[in-house]
């Protein structure tokens, strides 16, 4: 479980976060949704301890993220930001191998190699594993990054807009992979999503943010509600029931 207590942050003159009190339960995918500038990515970055908080406390699996050593946290929580640009020339496998760093400190054991292979295969990257990252397409590279954070084998995985720059087919596959990862490997995945319909289809919980505050947090079915979504996005939204589940219509 991730617990946020009275978290405050003045990020810049436009974005200030808080106070946020939030509990994210174990298991499944939790989607952070909300309009632009609501502070979703900032909140995620703070949970991933890449950004300090001004006030309050965040606990992940009972560990306070400001007092726990970064290298110990790296075995419990992993975070992938949107922009990833490396100056070194790495192959897919070498990149995924870095995910094992918190455990092996760079000295890969046979067990590590097995784990690396497992996640490469899981994201269908086996044929590409000895290719350099700059030889891949955007979608393939995105999968390689996700494979790296999965190979970190942390209970909690935080992803900042993993569908950014992916077309429909890649997006669907990515969400499917994430859902499978949550189920097969028993992970808790928290992801920032722009499209509420992906959240509706794949997330177990939804957390709606607006103006730096959490407005609603609950099971996806509860949040997929005309009134709630219309309020959050300040746009008329109608939720309809389809054979594939709930769907938000907004045009």
């Amino acid at each position: 479980m991730i617990t946020l207590k009275d978290v405050n942050k003045n990020y810049s003159s436009e974005v200030s976060i808080g106070p946020v009190d939030l509990e994210i339960p174990r298991g499944g995918i939790t989607a952070l949704v909300g309009p632009n500038g609501a502070g979703k990515s900032t909140l995620l970055t703070m949970m991933g301890r890449l950004l300090g908080i001004d006030q309050g406390a965040i606990e992940i699996a009972g560990m306070d993220i400001t007092t726990t050593k970064s290298k110990d946290l790296a075995k419990i929580v992993s975070i992938l930001k949107q922009e990833n640009h490396f100056m070194t020339k790495l192959t897919v496998r070498q990149l995924v191998g870095f995910g094992r760093f918190p455990h092996s400190k760079g000295r890969l054991t046979a067990e590590d190699e097995e784990i690396i292979s497992r996640y490469i295969d899981f994201l269908h990257l086996a044929e590409l594993e000895s290719r350099y990252l700059d030889e891949l397409s955007g979608g393939q590279r995105q999968r390689a990054y996700v494979a790296m954070v999965l190979a970190q084998e942390t209970e909690y995985v935080l992803l900042d807009e993993p569908l950014n720059n992916l077309d429909i087919s890649h997006s669907v596959h990515m969400m499917q992979h994430l859902k499978d990862a949550a189920e097969q490997f028993n992970r808790t995945i928290i992801v920032v999503l722009h499209d509420i319909n992906y959240a509706a289809r794949y997330a177990r919980y939804m957390c709606a943010m607006k103006n730096g505050k959490v407005i609603h947090m609950g099971r996806t079915e509860e949040l997929m509600n005309n009134q709630i979504l219309t309020d959050i996005f300040e746009t008329p939204i109608e939720v309809i029931s389809t054979p594939q589940g709930l769907l938000a219509c907004y045009h």
Binding site: Q94, F101, L108, E127, L128, S130
Partner: protein, 358 residues
């Protein structure tokens, strides 16, 4: 998924041998992409080592008036060996510091040389000759002076880095820029003092302000060698952390490496290496850059454990070979470092205009 399959098909065509080999063998994620890359690396190391040995022998023995093996031969060789030692120290310092610096700065087109060390060196020497005259500068060629310079330079960078890297929101690029600009400000003060010198004083100063192994004194070595080797070794043992740092600040933090702490350690070591090299032979900006560039181009790996030795050998070969050529073939002693700087600068420009990739 269909388009992925076609992609994969292309890979199999393109890297047929590679892909099928890695499939049939156990899959490993080592420092090299394939075992042939590993072989290539060690062959390269072998060639460089042989070249370095040859150049060293050439520098010691070529044009030695005494027949090889006699006692007198060794006396002359001994004297030359001092200069060769200086080359070794400088090569190690420049190569290791540049690569570590570029990794921490996450940028492959800068060198620690522009961080103000040479301005500080120039300021120290210019003010010495300005206030104490030419004899003052000549008398200041002491062991204490060497230590003093190293201490001033390391202290300067420690203050700067410590001040600018403290706190979670520290920005690496603003730190670099501040260092560069402070160096520039110091430089214009030195320029002003240089204008007041007589031409003969200026000539003496100039000789000192250009990197040359002739500036090195053997009595500095007991301090210079342990400092250089020690710092280089620590950086070598930090290789694994440097590999993680090279993925950028956020990825490194995600993997549990505290960026600012590692960066500060690395930068202080870089400062020690740069200070030793500068205080020993004078400023050299582009040697490190040239060597780092060549290393990235030729080494088929990202792993610092392999980059450092290759770069050091390359730097040593470049230095010894150019000294050998200049001293014995073109008999143009004294301009070696300037030529290296010139070549480094030209390589810098061409690489950036042709590849432009960062």
């Amino acid at each position: 998924m269909r388009d992925e399959r076609t992609d994969a098909g292309q890979v199999l065509l393109m890297h047929d041998s590679v892909a099928s080999k890695s499939q049939s063998k156990t899959r490993m994620s080592g420092s090299f992409r394939t075992s042939s890359d590993r072989t290539k690396y060690w062959i390269l190391m072998g060639v460089l080592l042989a070249g370095s040995l040859l150049a060293t022998f050439g520098l010691l023995a070529y044009d030695n008036p005494m027949p090889f093996g006699t006692r007198r031969f060794w006396i002359i060789a001994q004297r030359r060996a001092d200069a060769v030692t200086a080359m070794g120290i400088v090569a190690l310092c420049q190569a290791v510091s540049t690569i570590a610096f570029q990794t921490v700065a996450n940028n492959k087109i800068i060198t620690p040389g522009i961080m103000g060390f040479q301005s500080l060196y120039a300021a120290i020497h210019t003010s010495t000759i300005f206030f104490f005259g030419a004899t003052g500068l000549l008398n200041a060629r002491t062991f204490e002076m060497f230590l003093f310079q190293v201490l001033v330079m390391v202290g300067f960078s420690f203050l700067l880095y410590g001040w600018l890297l403290r706190g979670k929101n520290a920005n690496m690029h603003s730190m670099l820029l501040v260092g560069i600009i402070l160096g520039g400000g110091l430089g214009s003060l030195s320029t002003f003092m240089q204008r007041m010198l007589t031409p003969s004083e200026f000539d003496i100063l100039t000789a000192r302000l250009f990197g040359s192994v002739n500036n090195a004194e053997a009595e500095y070595y007991p301090v210079a060698v342990p400092l250089a080797v020690g710092s280089a070794l620590i950086l070598f043992f930090l290789s694994k952390k440097l590999n993680v740092i090279s993925l950028g600040r956020e990825t490194a933090e995600n993997l549990g490496v505290t960026f600012s702490r590692v960066a500060l350690t690395v930068l202080v070591l870089v400062a020690v290496l740069s200070a030793v090299s500068t205080a020993l032979v004078g400023p050299m900006i582009f040697l490190g850059f040239l060597v780092a560039m060549l290393t990235y181009q030729s080494a088929p790996t990202y792993d610092h454990k392999y980059l450092f030795p290759l770069a050091s050998l390359l730097a040593y070969l470049v230095l010894t070979l150019s000294y050998f050529l200049m001293n014995h073939i073109f008999s143009a002693q004294g301009v070696v470092s300037i030529i290296i700087e010139f070549v480094g600068a030209v390589v810098f420009l061409t690489i950036i205009l042709r590849k432009g990739a960062l």
